[in-house]
């Protein structure tokens, strides 16, 4: 019954020149700009091998029992921590050629980064921040009364409880990313980002349906809400996938992007599109305003992209891992970039299952919203 509706919606979508531009050429244009803008920064990162950083730990600091763990984590990443007691960290960095200097005080730590070695400094910042996050987490587990909003608050409470202070904690291994070029990084993540903008392709159809009150006509023909939903979901998925596939192949041949496992990567892009479309159709079903839908979708996608490494590379993003993990874009970006660089990734399963869960949940809500709205009228 909806076979022909799907077929004609595919025609409507593919005849819309904006869709062609948006999903085939726009990702390439954005990629080209960002690859060019960040190539010098990413090249510096490619050249990073091993380097040294200085540190000092104040007597009585909560980090005293953890400093060996932190040093081990840094060592695994090719960073050697050298203890130097100094009151002038900047001079110490310049004299010794350090990538940075860390002062561990009683309740806090301070990072001094090298002005010349920008990438080394950011690596140090990322690793130390991650280590402190792990320490926070372990302290919370050890003492359930601890609040985890700020390190200072945690540390004050643990100092009062000696049984917690003296307890040994482990810091889980922080894998830092192997070298990735700006071409591969931005070439991959912007295809994923555009897959999350999939709802835009339905602009023409929603506009036409609103202008001519076509949904009313579908309801007179006794189409149910699931059929009305699928008549948009299926065609838009097909058109988006074909467009992004074309865009991907252009990125490979024209820009030299390496995708690694193309099949798995595209499964991640497909599941991202499904989630994005389901989310957009759900919001449209609830608010019945495409303007509101677009604002909400783009707002959400921007936030997810911000924490997911779309704008700043996720390995240098100074945000805790637990926040990043909330963003489906983080899972997708990390999975695809690691597939490109390492050939495997432990984020593939989470990237696909997280997005499929979003797609399923949003689809159910979209259909239910349509049924409730229809019952209110009929």
């Amino acid at each position: 019954m909806i076979r022909y509706l799907i077929k004609n919606n595919i025609k409507l979508l593919s005849r819309n020149i904006v869709n062609v531009f948006l999903y085939i050429f726009a990702p390439i244009a954005v990629m080209a700009v960002l690859i060019s803008a960040f190539s010098s920064m990413m090249e510096k990162y490619e050249g990073i091998d091993k380097f040294e950083v200085g540190y000092k730990v104040e007597s009585g600091s909560v980090f005293e029992t953890q400093i060996d763990n932190i040093k081990n984590v840094l060592k695994e990443q090719g960073i050697t921590a050298v203890m130097i007691d100094t009151d002038n960290p900047k001079e110490c960095i310049d004299d010794n050629g350090f990538g940075g200097y860390v002062e561990f005080s009683k309740n806090s730590y301070k990072l001094h980064l090298s002005e010349d070695k920008e990438v080394e400094g950011r690596m140090l910042e990322y690793i130390v921040t991650s280590c402190v996050d792990e320490i926070n987490l372990n302290m919370k587990k050890a003492n359930e009364n601890i609040e985890t909003d700020k390190l200072g608050a945690n540390v004050e409470k643990t100092i009062a409880d000696e049984s917690v202070t003296n307890k040994e904690f482990t810091v889980s291994h922080q894998r830092h990313m192997p070298e990735v070029s700006s071409t591969d990084y931005y070439g991959i993540i912007w295809i994923i980002y555009f897959s999350w903008c999939s709802i835009l392709c339905l602009t023409g159809i929603y506009s036409s349906e609103k202008k001519h009150n076509l949904v009313r006509k579908y309801r007179v023909s006794n189409l149910n809400e699931l059929q009305i939903y699928l008549s948009k979901f299926i065609p838009s998925t097909l058109v988006i996938m074909i467009s992004l596939m074309i865009s991907t192949f252009i990125s490979i041949f024209a820009l030299g992007v390496h995708w690694g496992n193309l099949l798995l990567s595209f499964a991640i892009v497909l599941s991202s599109s499904l989630a994005a479309l389901a989310l957009g159709i759900m919001l449209q079903s609830i608010f019945e305003s495409f303007v509101v839908t677009i604002i909400l979708v783009f707002g959400l996608v921007w936030v997810m992209g911000f924490f997911g490494g779309t704008f700043e590379t996720y390995m240098f993003l100074n945000v805790s891992e637990s926040v990043k993990l909330l963003s489906p874009l983080y899972h997708a970006n990390r999975a695809c970039v690691e597939l490109s660089v390492m050939g495997h990734s432990q984020y593939v399963v989470s990237a696909i299952s997280y997005t499929l869960l979003i797609a399923f949940a949003c689809s159910v809500v979209a259909v239910c919203a349509g049924v409730i709205r229809r019952r209110g009228r009929a």
Partner: protein
């Protein structure tokens, strides 16, 4: 003549406002039934309830002897709705529009292709089947609107002001086609503000005002409600007499 559509105490209320008030009408199979009324009389709401687009507050609609509410799937496939606004996709070709809307009633394959050809031929758009609807004139779009509603051979056709904004030739063509559909066995419900159209094609006319049915009968019967000599008055004058000349600013 058997009754094809019957409304029983049909009422629609929005908060405290009664939009359709205890409407009881019977439409006979094979007739062209006109529904007149000023703006806000409740005509569109009545049409929407008949098409199952909105739920009545009280009352019921019976179609072909069965409750519409309980037999939706079966009965809606026998109903063709031609709305006042043009319910077509302008970015699709003429034949694609007819295919889309006819297929919604379960028609497919060769039978669908035949129905598309038949519907386009019926409205005089066969030669323009490969053209996009956006390139059609207003009259052609109205004809395509009709073609999209008749492909599944409905028993009941509901026309909601089908001749708004088109030239006299197109209007005359549409009216002729409505009469032809009726001769071919379809029952027609026709709403319009053009009294001469209603008078020309309708067998019986119902006049609504403020949600209530105030008069029903043939054109002649309605005229005789107001004057003895039916030839001395127009339907428009009858309408204004029964509903008043006050503006309806809704």
């Amino acid at each position: 003549m058997s009754v094809i559509l019957k409304t029983k105490d049909l009422t629609k209320k929005y908060d405290d406002k009664i939009v359709v008030d205890n409407l009881n009408i019977e439409i006979n199979e094979g007739e062209i039934f006109g529904l007149l009324g000023p703006n806000g009389a409740g005509k569109s709401t009545t049409m929407n309830m008949i098409c199952n687009l909105i739920r009545p507050t009280y009352g019921s609609v019976e179609f072909m002897g069965k409750s519409l509410k309980k037999n939706k799937k079966e009965l809606l496939s026998k109903l063709g709705y031609i709305p006042q606004e043009l319910a077509i996709h302008e970015s699709l070709k003429a034949w694609e529009n007819v295919e889309l809307f006819t297929s919604l009633f379960g028609i497919k394959g060769k039978e669908l292709k035949d129905r598309i050809d038949e519907s386009l031929d019926y409205v005089g758009l066969s030669e323009r089947r490969e053209d996009y609807a956006k390139n059609f004139s207003g009259g052609m779009k109205r004809r395509l609107n009709i073609a999209c509603a008749i492909g599944h051979h409905p028993n009941l056709l509901i026309f909601d002001e089908p001749t708004v904004g088109i030239d006299p030739q197109s209007r005359n063509f549409i009216l002729e086609k409505i009469k032809e559909s009726n001769r071919n066995g379809a029952t027609v419900i026709y709403t319009s503000h053009y009294m001469e159209e209603v008078e020309a094609i309708c067998d019986r006319i119902a006049i609504m005002d403020n949600g209530k049915l105030i008069a029903i009968g043939s054109s002649e019967e309605l005229k005789k409600l107001v004057v003895d000599d039916a030839d001395s008055i127009t339907l428009e004058e009858v309408f204004l007499t029964l509903t008043g000349k006050k503006l309806r600013d809704y």
